[in-house]
Amino acid sequence: MPEGQFHIVPVDVTNAHHVGTVFRSIYGEDFPVRDVYEPGTLCREIESGRLISLLAFDMNGQTAGYASMYKTAPNPRLWEAGNLAVVPAYKYTDISLRLIRFLFNFAANSITIIDGIFVEAVCSHYFTQVNAVKNGMVDCALELDQLDGESFKDERNNKAGTARVSCALYFRELTDLSEAEFVPARYNEILRQIAGSLRPRILFPSIDSLPTDEKTILEEKYYASARTWKTAIQAIGSDWTVVVEDILDKAGQRQVMSLQVTVNMACPHIGSAVDLLRKKGFFFGGMFPRWFGTDGLLMQKLFGSEREYEKIKLYTPFSRELLAFIKSDCEAVRGV
């Protein structure tokens, strides 16, 4: 991979208009995150502390690439790295590697309080997974069929040829977690395996039945173009059964393909909550570390055609083990 000569700088009011240039060179006007085409919005997000973004220029001042970090989790001290884009003329250079490395260093030096950084790596190729692992991240979850394969303009990104694209969640933890957490007995071993690559945690078995009084607290994000709906359960209440039914009804109305429910592992009732989800067809996905400040346990349900597990490209041996566990849990839930 040839070493190019590049100049990487933070996006600001003087250069924000170049971000659109990068995305237009690959996606035309069709990139689903519209902010990249709007310099004013980008600058406001940066000023408000919700976005960190970088532009790369070649030695002639031509725009070569872009990378960013932003907040998508309920925990405001958690950052997602993503929207890495390289102008096609530079795809034979090492600019993407340099952008990722620069971004991680820049974030570590410019953000004062940061619990961690995560990446959702598409599993139709190895690029993001390799870069995540080589930059000290560990694999924690697999979000099956999360993205619509059709939305990838560049067909190489959907080499697997599947209608849906799965993602692997990689995480780098930067602060200690002091609060105790709870794990459902059936997922005790796999969750401890995932946690074993993170900072030390106190994990207790969840033995409590569903609560009799409190109300479920839920946040949601619906990605209409991907037909993916992500819900985050901050707290479980006595209304849990009704909440789950409601989620499933709405998922049907929205014609969701991938439904994700992430439950706060600080909830002592998580074992009973997960049992109910499994009765409704949800299966294990992994851990979303520090999602709520404390960790989240991902349960997922898919509404599309049969999975094509063999087409999911996974880099690490552990991610392949995780997929085998997920597949077996999915089959157990379906009674296969």
């Binding site: 991979m1 040839p2 070493e3 390289v86 795809k91 034979y92 250079t93 090492d94 993407s96 590697l97 190729h125 190895y126 690029f127 997974q129 390799v130 870069n131 080589k134 190489r156 990104n157 880099y315």
Partner: protein, 80 residues
């Protein structure tokens, strides 16, 4: 199987639609002649780590400029 055969096998697997065995010469440039881009390099790294049972640091990818350079790199790494 020799290192050269393993390297060529990996490249053919990645670029099977775009190149033929005749393109695989020691002096062939991975970028200019065989058109490996950053996604291809990542795949080559994954397949090579498996084939040679080694871990390859990302920075070493810059050293894999030609098939010959790749063969030399893997031979050195295997030798320890």
């Amino acid at each position: 199987m020799t290192t050269m055969e393993k390297v060529c096998g990996i490249i053919l697997k990645i670029k099977k639609k775009d190149i033929s065995a005749a393109d695989l010469k020691l002096e062939a440039s991975l970028v200019d002649d065989l058109k490996l881009d950053s996604l291809d390099f990542a795949e080559m790294l994954v397949l090579a780590e498996e084939a040679f049972s080694i871990e390859i640091p990302l920075d070493d990818a810059n050293r894999l400029t030609t098939i010959g350079a790749a063969v030399e790199y893997f031979d050195k790494r295997i030798a320890g």
